[in-house]
């Protein structure tokens, strides 16, 4: 297990519920500086919710989240926005602004936060678009892009302000194998070359093994396992083995809690 006593982002004893459903119960995670950290887990374990908690789009019921030693729950809006300028986030669906084109989407944070001349903005934006292979799509509107292309544009936008921490929510979904390979290498290269820290939420075990330095497997509201990809692959934990090898049988049930199948088909459950 990874030592969760110090790191760039420290999550301590985190509890979070949505309605009556407990998502996290005493979650402890440490995201180390300069590393690519993967958050994995079966569907519905709250991986995206965790990212929203880390960026204070959501507020935990209990526990603390420290970013560089700062308790983000105690920040006022001005300080929170100051902190968020250090983050770049890639949303699951891209979240591109639909009324402006690809170029303007990537330029958006620059235009809002800086007074750079247009020539320089153009230079920066084209560089970032080139990195994700979409320089040629600069004039297209978001509605004209495929899901994978939209996510690549969103990635260019996430890194346009050169953030310290890049957060990726399911970055590999919907990408063709070529784009996937390029993006995986890009995530790794950006992390190492720019000295940033990356947090990556994904189901793609193979890609995570290639790109991440350490991974956390979340299940049932807690960290079920953590370690390097090799450590997780060679673990004896049944849950980790089931997840890493995609097995149908194991501690994690494929079926959501439901009444008896035969009884339900025969209509006896409603009697």
């Amino acid at each position: 297990m990874i030592d969760s006593s110090k790191g760039l982002i420290e999550i301590r004893d985190l509890d979070y519920s949505r309605g009556h459903r407990e998502i996290f119960k005493g979650l402890n995670i440490s995201i180390e500086r300069g590393k690519v950290t993967a958050i994995m887990g079966p569907s519905g374990t709250g991986k995206t919710t965790l990212l929203r908690l880390i960026t204070r789009q959501l507020v935990p019921d209990n526990g603390t989240i420290l970013v560089d030693g700062i308790d983000i729950a105690k920040l006022n809006q001005r300080d929170l926005y100051k902190l968020r300028r250090r983050f770049g986030m890639l949303f699951q669906n891209g979240a591109l602004l639909t009324d402006i084109n690809v170029f303007e989407n990537v330029a958006f944070p620059l235009r809002e936060h800086t007074r750079l001349p247009n020539r320089l903005i153009r230079h920066v934006v084209l560089t970032k678009l080139h990195a994700v292979g979409l320089r040629g799509a600069a004039d297209m509107m978001p509605a004209e892009l495929s899901g994978g292309m939209a996510r690549r544009v969103a990635l260019a936008r996430a890194m346009v302000m050169d953030p310290d921490i890049l957060i990726y929510d399911e970055p590999f979904v919907g990408l063709d194998p070529i784009s996937m390979g390029v993006i995986v290498r890009l995530v790794r290269r950006m992390n190492d070359a720019l000295g940033i820290s990356s947090i990556l939420v994904s189901h793609d075990v193979q890609e995570i093994a290639t790109v991440s330095d350490c991974s956390y497997l979340i299940s049932d509201g807690k960290v079920a396992a953590s370690g390097s990809p090799d450590e997780l692959s060679n673990t004896s934990s049944e849950l980790v083995r089931q997840f890493m090898h995609g097995m149908a049988d194991g501690p994690v049930a494929f079926h959501f809690a439901a009444p008896n199948y035969a009884e339900q088909l025969l209509g006896r459950d409603v009697e």
């Binding site: 929203r52 960026t55 789009q57 809006q77 926005y81 100051k82 968020r84 300028r85 983050f87 986030m89 949303f91 699951q92 669906n93 979240a95 591109l96 602004l97 639909t98 958006f108 944070p109 809002e112 936060h113 969103a154 302000m161």
Partner: protein
């Protein structure tokens, strides 16, 4: 039953309080946006105002035409058909201009605002802005609110002017009312306070309609059904609010 009514009442009070706080936040941020990001406001004036012009003018023309017809047919019973211009001007400037414009605004621009903001929320665009350290309230909501507030008095004025033109066509050109009497009676009877009443109403309706549209969009449940419900609610609540406030302002002027 009693408990449900109590909860509904509590819920209403809570929502109304939240709406007032939301309004305050819009107002507090408005001066900065007007001074520093006037381009955003101008774009929204175009979206809410300029794009509503056709519907406003067409409706104004026909409402004015109906006033010409009704005014003529009823006033002629008392040999007072020369007053049809005054009748149309009073109706348009004090009531129909501001009220119908507000209802049309809710149907055209209000629904567009609510659904646009609701969809931005549903597709994480507002969250993405938050994550880029850009306050969506300032970047998205305030310009749209201001766009509506600025547009409404102009739209109401255009509605009334086109309406008078419609009344003139029907009463003077089609029914033979003397054009001199049409304009002269209007000029001698109308007071500046009548025009002020219309301007105040259209301004207040602009605030109400724009506030409700951005509020409903911003608080929409981020699903297809949630956005559609928010859009419908925008029209219904704005219509009710406008008619109630119209009564209150009219009462205060009498």
């Amino acid at each position: 039953m009693l408990r449900e009514t109590w909860y509904t009442l509590i819920d209403f009070v809570r929502t109304f309080g939240a709406l007032q706080l939301f309004f305050l936040r819009l107002l507090i941020n408005a001066p900065t946006i007007i001074l520093r990001r006037s381009g955003l406001v101008i774009k929204q004036v175009y979206n809410a105002g300029a794009l509503s012009l056709v519907i406003i003018m067409v409706c104004g023309l026909f409402v004015g035409g109906v006033l010409g017809l009704q005014g003529y047919s009823n006033l002629s019973k008392f040999n007072a058909e020369d007053s049809v211009g005054t009748f149309a001007a009073f109706s348009l400037l004090k009531e129909l201009g501001p009220v119908i414009t507000a209802l049309l605004f809710a149907g055209r621009a209000g629904t567009a605002l609510a659904s646009e903001i609701g969809l931005m929320k549903a597709t994480d665009q507002l969250s993405a802005m938050e994550m880029m350290a850009i306050n969506p309230l300032r970047r998205v909501l305030v310009p749209r609110f201001l766009g509506g507030v600025i547009s409404m008095p102009f739209l109401a004025a255009i509605f009334s002017v086109v309406g008078l033109f419609g009344a003139h066509i029907v009463a003077v050109n089609l029914l033979g009312v003397d054009p001199g009497a049409f304009w002269q009676q209007m000029q001698s009877t109308l007071d500046i306070s009548d025009i002020n009443e219309g301007i105040i109403k259209s301004f207040v309706f602009g605030v109400v309609a724009s506030l409700l549209a951005v509020w409903e969009g911003y608080n929409a449940v981020p699903t297809a059904e949630g956005v559609s419900r928010a859009t419908t609610r925008t029209v219904v609540i704005t219509a009710i609010a406008v008619l109630i406030i119209d009564f209150m302002i009219t009462a205060s002027f009498i």
